[in-house]
Each structure stands twice: as structure tokens, then as C-alpha cells.
Amino acid sequence: MSQPLLAPRETDATITDAVSDLVLERPTGRLWLFAFALAFLLTALLGSGIVWLLARGVGIWGLNIPVAWAFAIANYVWWIAIGMAGTFISGGLYLARQGWRNALNRYAEAMTVFAVAVSGLFPILHLGRPWFFYWLAPYPDRMGVWPQWRSSLFWDFSAIVAYLLVSILYFYVGLIPDLATLRDRARTRGKQVFYGLLALGWRGEARHWQRYETLNLLLAAMAVPLVFSVHSMVALDFSEGLLPGWHSTLFPPFFVAGALFSGFAMALVLGIPLRWCYGLQGFITERHLDNLAKLMLAAGLFVDYSYAAELFTAFYSGDRYEVAHALQELGGAYAWVYWTIVGCNVVAIQALWSARVRRSHAALFVIALLVLAGMWLERFELIVASLYHGFLPSSFGLFYPTLWDLAFLAGSVGLFLLLFLLFVRLLPVLPMFELRKLRARLDGEGA
């Protein structure tokens, strides 16, 4: 496809005005208010769930032995995975000098920050006594004990902390020049002060830009290995365990592929309504959506390969517990989950081979939603279908979710949506300075 990344008539001024007016001038729409109200209600549901959880304990969820990890950990893995693609779009495509990244990276980074923040809630709430979560951190305390350094749970803790902080830094640094634009274009005193403080006095001096660009490049170069390491740590939570279905060296790459897969799907689910509601068709073009769809297909094929490798390895190993687990997966109590996953993550995405499907926004949106659902179910299956069927037949036991389980899942979607809606209203959804630079590059300007 040779469609341009930016319309040739765009200038620095039109790009800046189009994006900054969305924040500064455009009145709050009815659709936004409706979505905000919905997200707020769901967040309130999550809030009341948390209060009830603190009062009563994790027993309000359907957890028990043997299935002591269920929705909470599935939600955690699902959300942190969604964040991965945001960093990858921003950092990986920056390193690969993909010009089409520039219309997507801002909202993708916002998606990352919010998804990681939401995901971090779940392991903390799942602790049983969440108010002691800081015991996970190594600090000199009166008890004189340290975290267990050899445990994958500590690795995971440091991975989440590093990932959350680095993605916030990356997001904020990327915003600074655009916050300066909002400061300079704001017409009311309140907005001038608000964006002025956030912009930290950025003026766009040539030497400042040079250091800034160096930093951006280095942050991108560090963010990509960070993505891969963080989701590998999440995978090690499982593969360090001895449970059949978990104890596998396949897990780290399998988790990373799954993370990118669901993250690209979320980027599409957010991007398609965003460009439609805010008239961003000139910036997030057909070509962007097409590229995202292709990336989603590629990541999906990696995931599908992992499904095949998982089954093959189980039977090839000849280990009776691994084989029993594989048979359980295909035909046991949770087989319906497994086959739904196959439907979503293996069958549905094959439609993306067709250029016609990739050009249809409705089809892309539906497939991306199916992928998100499929990836959530995959996390659920991975956790529950392995736990309920351990080594000892006398300890087999099914998992039954309670209403609170569902409330926490819906509430986490609500909280994510709430944060994203605030982002859309308060911050520029496209990186204006990067688009100006892209414009200069496409026009053949340069030193």
C-alpha cells in the first residue's frame, strides 16, 4: 500500500492546531460523557469490590485449594500483556525507523501506562493482606528479614516496578514538547498554568532538542529489552513451578508473543473508535490500521505455533503427568475454554490474511475483540486448567467464579477506560512534535 502517512497539504501549523484543538477547544462530547459515566460506574464497582475484599479477604472470590490462583492472576497477566505492545509500538518501531509509528505511539504509550497500573492492582489484592504489600520490597526493617531473592515472585515484583516506572518516565518525557504546545496555545489562565507547570519550561532550544533526542533513542533502546524481560518474568512465575502445564521452558517466549498479540489487538480496539470520534483519519490512516492488523496476525501466528509446540512437547516427553495434562486440556472439564481459545486466537485471525478484511474497520474491530477475549481465556485456562488437575487425583477440584470475580474483571476494564478517557480529554492523543518532524522528513527538508 502506498497511501501517504500524512496528507501532503499538512503543515506544522495545521498538524499542531488539529491535535491541540482536540484538547483545548473541542467541547466535551455526549459520547465521551456517556462513556465516562459507564467507566465511572464500573470503576465504582471495582472500588466497592476492593473495600469488600479488604473487609472480608480473598474468600469473596471463588478461590480455594487446589485453584488458588484464578481470575486475579489471569487479570494481572492479561493487563500487563496489553501494555507490552504499547511499548513495542513506541520503542521497537522507533528503533526500526518506521514512520508510521508516529501517529500511534502516544496513545499506545498511554495504553501501556494505564494497563500496567491496572494490572499491578491484582497481585497486590491477591496477597491476602494487601496492606503489607511493601514487604515485597527489600528495605531495612525491624523484622530483619529480606525478600527471597531466588523466588520468581521477587523477580516479578522488580519487573513490574521497573516496567511501571520506566513506562511512566517514557510517556512523560515524550509528552514534554507537546505540553509546551498546549501551554503556548491555551487561552484560559487555568489551562496555561496547568500545562505550563507540566511542560517544565520546555522551549525547544536546539541543544535541548539534541539531548532530548538522545534520551528518547536510549529510552527506546532500553524499553524494548525491558518488554521482553518483564513478560518473561511473568512467565517464570509459572514455569518455575513444577505443575504439569506450567513447568516449561517454552513459557517466556510464548508469553511475550501472547503479550504483543493482545496488545496489538487493544491498540486496534482503542484506535478505531479514537480516529472515528475525533476525526483523526488524516493521521491514523488506513495504512496504520493495516500495519497493526499485520503485526497482530504475525504475533498471533507465533502464539499458534506455541500452542502446537506445547501439545507436541507434552506427548513427545512421554511424561505421564504432562500427557495427562494435555489430554485434560483437549477434552477435560475446561475443554470448552480451550476450544474457544482456538476459535479466537487460531481460527479468527486467519481472516487477516485477506486485504479486504484488513480494510474493513468493523471486521478488524471484531477480530481484535475476539483476540482480547481469547487471550484472557488463555490466561484463565493456563492457570485454572493446570491447577485443578495436579499430581494427586484426590485433590482435583473445579473452580467456580463468584459474582465478585466478574465484578473485579469488569471493574478493571472500567478503570482502564476511565484513565484512557481522561487521557483523551486532557493530553494530546498524537505526538505533535514527532508529526512535525515526520512532515519535514516527508517534505525532504533537512540539514
Partner: protein, 177 residues
Amino acid sequence: MSAGTHGWLARFDGAQALLVAARELRALGYTRLEAYTPYAVEGLAEVLGPVRNRIPLLVLLGGLCGGFGTLFLQWYAAVVDYPINVGGRPDASWPAFIPAALEMTILFAAAFGVAGMLLANGLPRLNHPLFGLARFEAVSRDGFFLWLRADDARFDARQARADLERLAPLAIDEVGA
């Protein structure tokens, strides 16, 4: 022109014109030049004079601090302060110490880099003489500016203005105190 002036601010029509103007003024012997652009213009900083860009060094330093610091913390806790025998494994289980050290390497490198970028650029900064000029607001939209500072050894208000005018700027403003 008032006594407490900070110099002249000229607006140019695009990155190319700004680069040409900056080169001309450097050739005339001005050293205290500052250029302001709405996006990073390649090669502009070098035209203005030698650049001290120590961000890579700071990032390396941060990464080393985070990585080796975390390794040391784990080693100290597991070997010196509170050794625990887990199935006969060595107290200093280096492979198991790597994951946390890797994450902290990246976190500290990023934090040092961001702090270094802000400090080196003199940010955060609440006010600046240029913020007093209404025309300067275009810098974050489509304005390309060159500031001829009054503290330049070669600066003479009249001569400097004449030098700027020869470069055909779109506008010239005095940067007030």
C-alpha cells in the same frame, strides 16, 4: 533599546532559513546564539557551537549503579546478613540474582537519563525572558527563532540588529529584561 536588554529574537521562515542564518551569524563571530524550533532540526545544534551531550554517559552510569547495586544488595543479604540454606544451594546464587539486577539496571539507567536530560537543559524552569514575547508562542507550533544574546562579547545592539536584518527574518523582537 533599553539597558537591561537580553538581545534580539528573530523569526525565520522554516528550518532551512534558520540553519543558513545561524551559519552566517557564526561566521560573523557571534558565539552566544540560541536557536528555537518546533521539532528537532538535525545539525542545528552543531552549527551553534560545541555541544556537551553527556546523556549516554549518564545512562551508562545509572545502569551500572542499578545493576551492580542490586547484585550487591542481594549478595549482602543472602551471604552476609541473613544466609538461608535452601536445599543446599550456595548462598551466593548468582544466576537467581540476575533477573532483579537486570530490571533495576534498566530502571536506574532510564531514571538517570531523564534526570540528566532535565538538569543539563536547565529544566524545570518556571520563567524565562523569552516567555515574555507574544510572538515566541509560535515556537511550539511552527516558529523557527534565533536569539542573539546580549551577553555575547561581539554584541552591539545596533550592529546586531543590522546583521539580523540582512538575513531576511520574518520579524525581529527585543528580548526584554
